[in-house]
């Protein structure tokens, strides 16, 4: 073990770096929060970001093989269909996740 001191230093550095990335826009731009441009971004960025996060999540899971991709597609379809039908977030999420877990643990996604 290389020493707890090293680990604590790493943790400290990472905490500072992570917090810095989260803090920066607030630090630099808070006094301009009502600027029309920033209000525009506040409206337009969330849908774009969530779209990107969906793609990020899908490509993170569904790339091992064709089976993996199909499994992710199936579970995603279940989620979307459930949500279209019932508009109940927890049901949609649970249904899609259960579908994925069954497929994965059933060995169908290898």
């Amino acid at each position: 073990m290389s020493g707890t001191g090293y680990l604590l230093a790493v943790i400290g550095v990472m905490a500072a770096a992570t917090f810095a990335t989260r803090l920066t826009p607030f630090l630099l731009l808070q006094h301009k929060a009502d600027h029309p441009l920033l209000l525009y971004l506040g409206r337009m960025m969330p849908p774009a970001i969530i779209t990107i996060l969906v793609l990020y999540g899908l490509q993170g899971i569904g790339v091992g093989s064709l089976h993996a991709a199909l499994g992710v597609a199936a579970a995603s379809t279940v989620t979307l269909v459930l949500h279209r039908l019932f508009r109940h977030p927890l049901l949609s999420i649970f249904g899609g996740t259960a579908c994925y877990m069954v497929l994965l643990q059933g060995g169908l996604l290898a």
């Binding site: 073990m1 290389s2 707890t4 680990l7 230093a9 790493v10 943790i11 550095v13 990472m14 770096a17 992570t18 990335t21 989260r22 803090l23 920066t24 826009p25 607030f26 731009l29 301009k32 929060a33 009502d34 441009l37 920033l38 525009y40 971004l41 506040g42 337009m44 960025m45 969330p46 849908p47 774009a48 970001i49 969530i50 779209t51 990107i52 996060l53 969906v54 793609l55 990020y56 999540g57 993170g60 899971i61 992710v72 579970a75 995603s76 989620t79 979307l80 949500h83 279209r84 977030p89 927890l90 949609s92 649970f94 899609g96 996740t97 994925y100 877990m101 497929l103 994965l104 643990q105």
Partner: protein, 225 residues
Amino acid sequence: MSSLLPALRASLPVLFGYVPLGIAFGILFQDLGYPWYLATLMGLVVFAGAAQFMAIGLLAAHAGLLEVAISTLALNARHIFFGLSLLHRYRVRGLRRFYLIFGLTDETYSLVTGTPAPDPRHADGYYLALTALNHLYWVTGCTLGALIGQALDFDTSGMEFALTALFLVLLLEQWNSVRNPWPFLVGSGCGLLAILLLREQMLLVSLSLTLILLLLHRHRGEAPA
């Protein structure tokens, strides 16, 4: 606090994602030979999933602190875009403000922008509850993984799909409330392009491109101010 129950319900899918992921991190962490409570500490003060997983590799290789700093900054640079679009929502000051900014993860951002606060006039209570609950889930996962490690019996593999499912549901909800298809098109286009061109930096590339395109779009006057 009347925001707690709605925040609990809204953040439940994050619990299903963060606890297994945190456990996975905790297991890898204790493989390095460090005491379990330092995994708890890391989850507590860093609170960043991807960065913590990356840290496992850095720690194993005894990477220098400068390398750790630069890698963490690069990996988490996307958080800058979150703050950019939350300026008008995060108005509260002081310690609560500090904590909201500290806990701004991908999932917290998605919930803050994608789920309605029970009382819009006191939305900061709701945002705080969301942030704190997500933080709790993550720290719990990291601690459990480091403590119990491979002794865990219940097969949770696949449970982290809950996060992707959450993003999908939030996407549908955004689609219903934001009538303008343009941000979704920009997001999909930039996202797909980034995946094809630069998969490892997909988030940073797609977010930067998206910001540029959205700014250009507004500058050309096609979007309502």
